[in-house]
């Protein structure tokens, strides 16, 4: 499998893509099972305006509901994220690791390396989409759920084009700049802003046109599941991808390779200038190395700042956004029949006609936990396993400190950071609510953000425990992410299906929003459960790390 750059790239990446495909298939399968037990005919009785508003179709059945829910959100985001990570790793990633110079020392041109990496990316995107399509269709037929007029192939075609676009965006930025961070940051930004923009803007009068500014619109804006392939949209995505590839290649061919340099930040410049050195040292220098927990905190500032800015910005605009929704739609939302909540279960559930429900569905249900866990899982997984992967653990442990102190201090950073995300989410929500005069209860918002913080700590503690036990960072990140996603699905299923309502209680997500904190305030029982889970997970990390050998290589 090492015959060429192309094959090596395939070998490096197939495991991740396989996991992604299996995860999406699990979602489709669970969705089909969960929704097929419900009588969805009542959806047909909804007013026309409302149905178009949230993309409901006459005669919509379990198949359409679960496939559009999974493909439209989890699935397409997962594939875009996989492609994005692969794209950023392709040129800039090898440069960051310092392996690119050796690779290019072989008689292979830069174009050859670039094209091999792009081809591998295209191949993975295509195969993953095809396999997902095939297993989704066969799962539906195994469960005797007719997909009827649903054009799964068209949706898959759109998903493929969208996946390629985000992948090549990351390739292009990475190849042109040599900075992996810039590649990941820029393309993730386009993805997230596009997802929100294309999803939320059409809800406003005239917002449809604005939504077309975002690449995400061309993935699902034409509703390919019902209307077939819109070749104009697919062409636009693929054309943009091709342009990105050319721009990336040209940039890569013209520039100097970056060494393993770590780059110069603003603070570094200030520290080099004798006039500002003292101040800059105080800002960034000695304080951040004064203890393990502060050092850990300084390593994860970017994740924290990203998550906090996202939470603050989104929470802030959601309030005014809610009031901007058409009145007629609001009236209809207020008269929704019982049972509607199934539609929103995967997003945390909630009553769309109230600001509380709107906030719950739009952010607290899914995006907020993702944001806080982005930070906590990163800190948790890097705490022990990350130091081992970087081979700095040996020297760290050569100091007169106990292994347990490393866990305590790093867990403290995680708790601290989760709390900051919680406080920022609280501030954003309160401000957003105040701006729009929604009169949401400040205390209930605080209660929700406390629970959000605790949920984040549980996710981070899980990553910490896995990392402490295995010393493998990959296992910690993906293990914790996978388990948390699974538990989220478990909670959603319990919420949808009466017969399975018991399973929700196995999921920490149940103790997060299960008590409806935005409406009913803080349930101390739920707080206690989340705290207990976190304590147990951090607690088992001690003996797990204490007992084993420090890993030398990742």
């Amino acid at each position: 499998m090492l015959g060429s750059v192309f094959l090596k790239t395939i070998r490096d990446r197939w495991v991740g893509w396989t996991i992604a495909v299996v995860a999406i298939w699990l979602f489709v399968w669970l969705g089909l099972v969960a929704y097929s037990g419900l009588d969805l005919s009542l959806l047909d009785t909804f007013p026309e305006a409302y149905r178009t508003l949230i993309g409901l179709r006459p005669g919509m059945d379990a198949g359409g509901l679960s496939i559009s829910a999974v493909y439209g959100t989890y699935g397409s985001i997962t594939f875009a994220a996989m492609a994005l990570a692969m794209g950023a790793a392709s040129i800039a990633g090898e440069e960051h690791q310092g392996t690119l110079s050796l690779l290019l020392a072989n008689p292979k041109s830069r174009s050859h390396v670039f094209i091999s990496k792009v081809l591998a990316l295209v191949l993975f995107s295509a195969v993953a989409t095809l396999v997902t399509w095939a297993i989704s269709a066969s799962t539906a037929s195994m469960l005797d759920i007719a997909l009827g007029d649903l054009d799964l192939g068209a949706l898959s075609t759109h998903m493929f084009a969208s996946t390629i676009f985000y992948g090549l965006l990351a390739v292009a930025v990475g190849a042109a700049t040599g900075r992996r961070g810039a590649a990941v940051g820029a393309s993730t930004g386009v993805l997230v802003v596009g997802f929100l923009g294309a999803g939320l803007l059409p809800l406003i009068d005239g917002g449809d046109e604005w939504a077309k500014l975002f690449p995400w619109y061309y993935f699902n804006g034409s509703e390919p599941l019902y209307n077939g392939v819109d070749w104009g949209h697919v062409g636009l995505l693929l054309g943009a991808s091709a342009i990105l590839a050319i721009v990336g290649l040209l940039g890569f061919l013209r520039r100097d390779l970056r060494g393993q340099s770590v780059g110069i930040t603003m603070v570094d410049r200030l520290r080099q200038n004798p006039m500002t050195r003292k101040l800059a040292d105080r800002l960034a220098g000695s304080s951040r190395v004064s203890s393990i927990w502060l050092k850990t905190a300084s390593e994860h500032q970017i994740a924290l700042v990203s998550a906090c800015s996202y939470m603050f910005f989104v929470q802030l605009i959601l309030g005014p956004f809610y009031t901007a929704l058409p009145r007629s739609a609001m009236d209809m939302l207020a008269q929704l029949p019982e049972g509607m909540d199934v539609l929103f279960a995967f997003f945390g559930g909630g009553d769309m006609s109230t600001p509380e429900g709107f906030f719950q569905i739009e952010t607290f249900g899914m995006m907020a936990p993702i944001m806080v866990m982005l930070v906590t899982i990163a800190v948790g997984a890097n705490a022990v396993a990350g130091e081992e992967a970087k081979r700095t653990m040996g020297l760290l442990l050569a100091n007169p400190i106990k292994r347990s102190r490393i866990i305590v201090e790093k867990a403290w950073t995680m708790v601290f950071y989760a709390s900051i995300v919680g406080v920022v989410a609280f501030a954003g929500t309160v401000l957003g609510s105040a701006l729009a005069e929604l009169e949401m209860s400040t205390w209930n918002i605080a209660a929700t953000c406390i629970l959000l913080t605790l949920l984040g700590i549980v996710g981070g503690a899980l990553a910490l425990a896995i990392g402490s036990g295995t010393g493998r960072k990959g296992a910690a990140v993906w293990g914790a992410t996978g388990v948390m996603v699974g538990l989220h699905v478990l909670n959603s299923i319990g919420a949808i299906s009466d017969s399975m309502s018991g399973v929700s209680k196995l999921s920490p997500f149940y103790y997060y929003l299960g008590g409806d904190p935005l409406n009913s305030g803080l349930d101390w029982g739920n707080v206690l459960v989340l705290v207990a889970i976190a304590i147990v997970l951090i607690g088992v990390s001690f003996p797990l790390f204490q007992r084993r050998d420090v890993r030398e290589k990742d």
Binding site: G285, L395, A398, N399, P400, D549
Partner: protein, 301 residues
């Protein structure tokens, strides 16, 4: 030179079926520089990582300054300076930040001493570690190993990446440590370095200790070429009777032999019979000894 600084008894480490370290007995005295020699993959790093409690021995013990390397690990680390092989530091920190971090974890060190060390090694501590060449990064690692003035310094391939001048300075620093009664454990495959600085040498191969000698004893054992110019024609028999002499070739006043023994005995044999006009001996270096030991091993296996 009596108290035991590092003492291992039957130290063994298995990874599954792979025997990385087998029944290692070492006895390193205070005030000595101990050279730990062996080819790549011999078990040097495994030994050190066990001493540092990074990994745990399958059986056997390592006792450092009278304390167990595992149960007293925390207390011990106050007295140990450590430089891991294939050093990894935090690339985004400057040298100064790196030093400060480890100094804080040690509860503070004498900053003026850090400056002295940096000056001696010619280290630039203002740059980010990630922007340094491997040799300059190694200097940061060396400073942190020496800075707390520990009783024991354990170093795994400390000279890697250093230029010859800095290597020499490092060797001087190691000698100074030993002269102060402190101890240096030096793992290396650079023989000339060990030869220049170490008091005793342990040679390890395939996880087993195959030799443990003073540098002098090793040298005495070394087989080397000796040429002697005498004031009279040579009687080959005089030399053949001396222990350790082989392959004597004499030509008039000149004799060449292969010799592996005590030089004193050889000189005493000559004394009284001849006057020595000139004597030259090819320097016995560890290179040859090393190869001899390994050849013996392979021949015996």
């Amino acid at each position: 030179m009596s108290e035991c600084a590092i003492c291992t008894k039957g130290l063994t480490k298995h990874y599954g079926k792979v025997e990385a370290l087998n029944d290692l007995d070492l006895d390193i005295q205070k005030g000595e520089v101990f050279g730990f020699l062996g080819p790549n993959g011999a078990g040097k790093t495994t030994t050190i990582r066990t001493m540092m409690d990074e990994i745990r021995a399958t059986c056997g013990t390592a006792t450092i300054l009278g304390m167990d390397s595992h149960t007293d690990a925390l207390k011990l680390r106050r007295s140990i300076g450590y430089l891991p092989g294939d050093l990894a530091l935090y690339p985004k920190l400057t040298g100064n930040d790196t030093i400060t971090y480890y100094a804080n974890l040690r509860g503070g060190v004498d900053t003026s001493y850090v400056k002295v060390l940096a000056e001696r090694l010619g280290a630039d501590l203002t740059k980010k570690v990630g922007d340094l060449s491997s040799g300059n990064r190694q200097k940061v690692g060396l400073i942190q190993a020496f800075m707390s003035k520990p009783d024991i310094i354990i170093m795994d391939e400390p000279s890697s990446g250093l230029d010859p001048l800095v290597q020499r300075e490092l060797q001087k620093m190691m000698r100074e440590i030993a002269d102060e009664g402190r101890t240096v454990f030096l793992s290396s495959h650079t023989l000339s370095e060990v030869q220049r600085v170490a008091d005793r040498v342990g040679i390890i191969r395939h996880g087993r200790l195959i030799a443990l000698e003073t540098v002098q004893a090793l040298r005495a054992k070394a087989v080397r070429q000796v040429e002697i110019e005498l004031d009279a024609p040579v009687d080959v028999g005089v030399f053949e009777s001396v222990e350790g002499v082989t392959e004597v070739r004499a030509q008039n006043h000149h004799v060449v032999m292969t010799f592996g023994g005590d030089m004193g005995a050889l000189l005493r044999a000559v004394e009284g019979r001849y006057n020595i006009v000139d004597i030259s001996t090819q320097s016995a270096d560890l290179e040859e000894i090393f190869l001899t030991y390994y050849q013996d091993e392979t021949a015996g296996a």
